[in-house]
């Protein structure tokens, strides 16, 4: 009985974890547009204070999803895929965003995320692009 209660306790503890769950590429579905998530370079993820996980196939999907949910946006943890390290997630609110015609993203915004502006500029490498911070890109997409 003791063990069972411990198990239940642990389960409830882990299920409330606010760290992002790993995305199962190829099987998980985007919460906003229902597409299967496949691009490791453009995925995004949100975890609310209650631990609820939302997964998105593109950064623009997360931004559009959050348009009318300012309260969740303020309190939840937002993550985006780091474009130059496919599969790794970084904090969305401190990341740098680049809109570059030559790098297409799943939902047509041509939007990619980077850890900081220097790496972004290095990867974009002189191709025409606009750079934004979280606030900036949020206002541009919505």
């Amino acid at each position: 009985m003791k063990r069972l209660s411990l198990l239940i306790f642990l389960c409830s503890f882990f299920s409330c974890s606010k760290t992002p769950q790993t995305i199962n590429y190829g099987t998980d579905m985007c919460h906003f547009c229902q597409m299967t998530i496949v691009t490791k370079t453009h995925a995004a993820q949100m975890v609310t204070t209650k631990g609820k996980q939302y997964k998105f196939d593109a950064i623009e999907c997360m931004i559009r999803f959050l348009e009318d949910k300012q309260d969740i946006m303020a309190s939840g943890n937002l993550f985006i895929a780091n474009y130059n390290q496919p599969g790794t997630m970084i904090d969305a609110k401190t990341a740098t965003y680049a809109v570059c015609e030559e790098i297409t993203s799943p939902m047509g915004a041509n939007l990619s995320g980077f850890k900081n502006t220097e790496t972004a500029k290095k990867i974009i490498n002189g191709r025409p692009a606009q750079y934004y911070d979280w606030e900036g890109i949020f206002n541009k997409i919505n």
């Binding site: 229902q34 299967t36 047509g108």
Partner: protein
């Protein structure tokens, strides 16, 4: 000079144009060239290149503003050895035929393809076999082309590091016919692709979609088979798509559908078969769509309608042995269900006019429950559910008031 001689002189000049167009042969020894790349570089617009059988370890063959007719003998293999593109083309009037291209480089930042067409008009890509593809055929900003009889396959890993078999980006009037595409990300993907026609393709085991439309209008697809993909077809943010005679089969999994309709208007679905899918049709934000003469057989859900769907008409469809025929959220929103055949219909036909005398209500209370609490699906065949479904049938409370098929058919529709 009289007019007759002028004409014949012009004709003579015209014919000399063709006399100067050569046929260049390529093989390991004894031909004009032993490398495709140097042959392409030294050819002129209008030339034909004939590649004799053999293995060519070449990559990034660039064709720039030259109309070439490239064809291979049976058994011609180009191995790019994971070094970028096979062919990279920017030209009008170009034909590439009868080749095998393999080992395309995988990259996260570059879209390497066996054949890349950029700003190319009047092209034909035929009988190309691509093995171990990253992208197969990548066509950008091009129009008036034919892509047919190609076989494209990827590595088939469950990882997401694969590209699309046939990817059209900003294209117009392209015909995609008789291709076999498998184990890629998307089988066929149209992104900003208009007025195209996709027919007789077989698309299977792709990680995401068998066929995918994004921001693409006025397209039609017919007689295709989509089997065991992540999801069969996704039509998103597009207008006026015609979908006839397709087979959607075994698209099974949590994020899996026969067809996903998201933000699309004025489409027609006719004579399609949906068989063994988790969800046959998943519709969200779709307007003015007609579903006629389709068969939904053995699906988890035949049709799942989410919000913002207006003015859709569902008539003369067969709903055969689906766990749920219909799942619905919100109001009816002037969607119409009429003259369908429902295998779950238990009414009678006393006047023998082929139309059931009692209306059919396709939404079960249980599907409403499952929508709210997905875990309750474990109760599916239990007596308790039979009882609540029966009680809902007797006095409906949860089903949208007008969600009724007033004229259910007594016999299957044949077409």
């Amino acid at each position: 000079m009289n007019p007759k001689t002028t004409i014949s002189f012009l004709l003579f000049l015209f014919s000399t144009c063709f006399v100067f167009a050569k046929t260049i042969t390529i093989c390991k020894t004894g031909c004009d060239f032993n490398s495709i790349k140097t042959a392409v570089d030294s050819s002129k617009s209008g030339d034909s290149l004939f590649i004799k059988t053999g293995l060519y370890k070449e990559s990034n063959i660039v064709i720039y503003k030259k109309s070439l007719y490239i064809t291979g003998e049976k058994g011609t293999v180009i191995d790019t050895q994971n070094k970028g593109y096979g062919f990279s083309v920017e030209a009008t009037d170009i034909i590439i035929k009868n080749l095998t291209i393999k080992n395309i480089e995988v990259s996260y930042t570059k879209e390497y393809a066996a054949i890349l067409l950029f700003k190319s008009y009047d092209f034909v890509i035929e009988n190309i076999t691509v093995e171990r593809a990253f992208f197969g055929l990548l066509v950008q900003k091009s129009k008036d082309g034919i892509i047919k009889n190609n076989t494209i396959s990827g590595e088939g890993k469950a990882e997401a590091d694969s590209g699309n078999a046939i990817h059209l980006w900003h294209c117009e009037n392209v015909k995609v016919l008789n291709n076999d595409v498998r184990r890629m990300r998307d089988g066929i993907y149209l992104e900003f692709g208009n007025s195209s026609y996709i027919a007789n393709n077989y698309s299977t085991q792709n990680m995401r979609y068998g066929l995918h439309f994004m921001f693409s209008n006025d397209n039609a697809y017919e007689n295709n088979t989509f089997e065991a993909n992540g999801a069969g077809v996704a039509v998103m943010f597009s207008k006026r798509i015609k979908m006839f005679n397709n087979l959607f089969k075994k698209n099974w999994g949590t994020a899996s559908y026969g067809i996903l309709l998201k933000e699309i208007n004025d489409a027609e679905l006719q004579n399609n078969i949906f068989e063994d899918n988790t969800i046959g049709v998943n519709a969200d934000g779709t307007n003015r769509i007609t579903f006629t003469e389709n068969t939904f057989k053995n699906n988890g859900y035949a049709i799942k309608v989410h919000g913002a769907c207006y003015d859709n008409i569902y008539s003369k469809n067969n709903f055969l042995h689906n766990s749920f025929d219909l799942s619905y959220s919100g109001k009816l929103n002037s969607n119409k269900f009429e003259n369908n055949y429902w295998s779950n219909y238990t009414g009678y036909d006393l006047d023998k006019d082929g139309i059931g005398d009692v209306p059919y209500r396709p939404v079960k209370l249980f599907s409403y429950l499952v929508n709210r609490t997905p875990e309750s699906i474990v109760l599916l065949r239990s007596l308790f559910i039979d009882i609540i479904n029966f009680s809902e049938k007797v006095s409906p409370v949860f089903t949208p008031e007008n969600l009724i098929d007033n004229k259910p058919l007594m016999h299957k529709v044949t077409w």
